[in-house]
Homo-oligomer: 240 residues x 2
C-alpha cells in the first residue's frame, strides 16, 4: 500500500520548488533506478511490482494499479523510486566541458546528458534558466546517464568570464567545425532552442563555430540543439 503522505510527496516532486525543498527527485524503470543506485545516489523510497533484487528497507512491493496512480508516465513501468539529490560537485577545470545557455526542452536536456555520457564529458554546466536536470522528463530522456554526468547550475556569463579555458560556441555564423583543431581543455557552449545564446554569454566566446549546411535550398533554419550537440561532441572527440 502506498500511503496518502507518500502519494502527496510523489505528486509534489513534479514541481521544481518541491524537489528543491525536499532535495528529492523521481526516477522510473528498473534500468534507470539500478544505474542511479550503482552510482551511489541515496535511495529514499522504492516502489515496484516485482522483486528487483535490491535489498533495501526502502523497498515496497505494490500492485500495478497503485504504481500507475503514482507514476508520471502514461503507461507506468514496473518500478518508481524517490532519490536524494546529490550535493553539487565542484567545477572541473580540465577536459571538455559542455555549457548550456537556457535550454528549455526537457527532452533536449536529457538527450544532451546522454550524449555527454557517451562522449566521456565529465562536466556539464547550465545557466540558471536551463530546465532542471531533475525534471522527471529529463531523468527519463537521459536513460540512466544522469548517474554518470554531474550537472552544475551557475551564472553562465560570470563562469565563462572567469574561466581560463578557450570558450567555443555553436552558432550559425561561425567557422566550419570541420576545419577546427580543438584543444584538450575547452568549453563548448550551446544556446537556447529558439533564440540561441544570450548577449552576455555571446560576449564571452573565444570562437564561434558552425556545422555547415549541405542542402541546396537554405531554408532549413537550424539543427535541433541536441543533434547539433551530437555533431559538435563527435567532432571534438574524433580529434583529441
Amino acid at each position: 500500500m502506498v500511503s496518502k503522505s507518500q502519494i502527496k510527496l510523489i505528486t509534489s516532486l513534479q514541481q521544481k520548488k518541491y524537489r528543491d525543498k525536499h532535495g528529492l527527485f523521481i526516477a522510473e524503470g528498473p534500468k534507470i533506478i539500478k544505474e542511479l543506485l550503482n552510482a551511489s545516489f541515496g535511495l529514499h523510497s522504492l516502489f515496484s511490482t516485482e522483486d528487483l533484487g535490491i535489498v533495501s528497507e526502502q523497498f515496497q512491493q505494490i500492485e500495478q494499479e497503485e504504481l500507475q496512480r503514482i507514476s508520471y508516465l502514461k503507461s507506468a513501468n514496473t518500478a518508481l523510486a524517490i532519490f536524494h539529490m546529490p550535493k553539487n560537485k565542484r567545477t572541473k577545470k580540465e577536459g571538455v566541458i559542455v555549457a548550456l545557455d537556457a535550454i528549455r526542452d526537457p527532452g533536449n536536456l536529457g538527450t544532451i546528458i546522454r550524449l555527454c555520457d557517451w562522449f566521456g564529458i565529465e562536466h556539464l554546466v547550465c545557466s540558471w534558466d536551463t530546465t532542471d536536470c531533475y525534471n522527471p522528463k529529463v531523468i527519463q530522456a537521459a536513460m540512466g546517464s544522469t548517474a554518470r554526468v554531474p550537472v552544475e547550475y551557475l551564472d553562465l556569463a560570470e563562469y565563462l568570464g572567469k574561466s581560463e579555458m578557450p570558450v567555443y560556441g555553436g552558432c550559425l555564423n561561425g567557422d566550419s567545425v570541420y576545419d577546427e583543431q580543438f584543444p584538450k581543455d575547452m568549453i563548448i557552449v550551446l544556446g537556447n532552442e529558439a533564440n540561441g545564446m544570450s548577449k552576455t554569454v555571446l560576449e564571452k566566446l573565444s570562437k564561434k563555430i558552425t556545422i555547415p549546411q549541405f542542402g541546396k535550398i537554405k531554408e532549413t533554419e537550424s539543427l535541433n540543439v541536441a543533434t547539433a550537440t551530437a555533431i559538435l561532441l563527435s567532432e571534438i572527440r574524433r580529434g583529441n
Copy 2:
C-alpha cells in the same frame, strides 16, 4: 465557422488509415504551412486566426477558440492546413540515401527528416513498419523539412538486395566511423530504437560502422537513433 464535416475530417486525419483513404494530412503553424505551399504541396483547406497573405479559395479565417478545437496541439498555433499527399516519387540511384528500418518514434523520424534536409539528402527510404511520415507529430518535428525531403516506403530488405550501391549500417559492433572513407553514392541504414535492424536487413549490409564510445564507464547502452543519424551524416558529408 468550421463546419461539422470539416471537424470530422480533421479529427479522422489523426489516424493513418484515414490519411491514406483521403490522401490528406494536417500541418500546423504558418511557417510549416508556407514551406509546404512553396514546395507545391496541394492545399485542401486552410484555417487561420490571421491573414497569412496566402491568396486561396481554400482559406478560411476563424477564431482562436475554433482553431483550438480542431488543433492536434495542446496550445494551437495560429493556423492549421489540410494538404494533399504528394504522389510517391521514384527511388533515386545516386548520391547518399538514408534508409530507416522500423523507426517507431514520430519525434525521431521528424528529427531525421530535418537532418536529411540540413545535410542535403534528397532521398529517404523507410521500411513499411516505420512510423508514417504524415503522422502529425512527424510533420511538427520535421519543422517544414517535409517540404524538401521525399520519403518512400518500401520492402527494405528487397530494396537493399537489389541496389548496386554499397550499403552501410549504423551498428554497435562495426568499424569506427572516423576511419571510414565514404563513397559519393551510398546507402546508410539506421535501425529500430530498441532492437536495431531486423535480421533480413542486417544480411544486406556491405559494412557495419560504429560511433566510438568515449566514456570511461561503458554502461551507456547506445545513442538515440536521431543523434546517431546526425553524427553519421556529418561524417559522410565532411568527407565527400
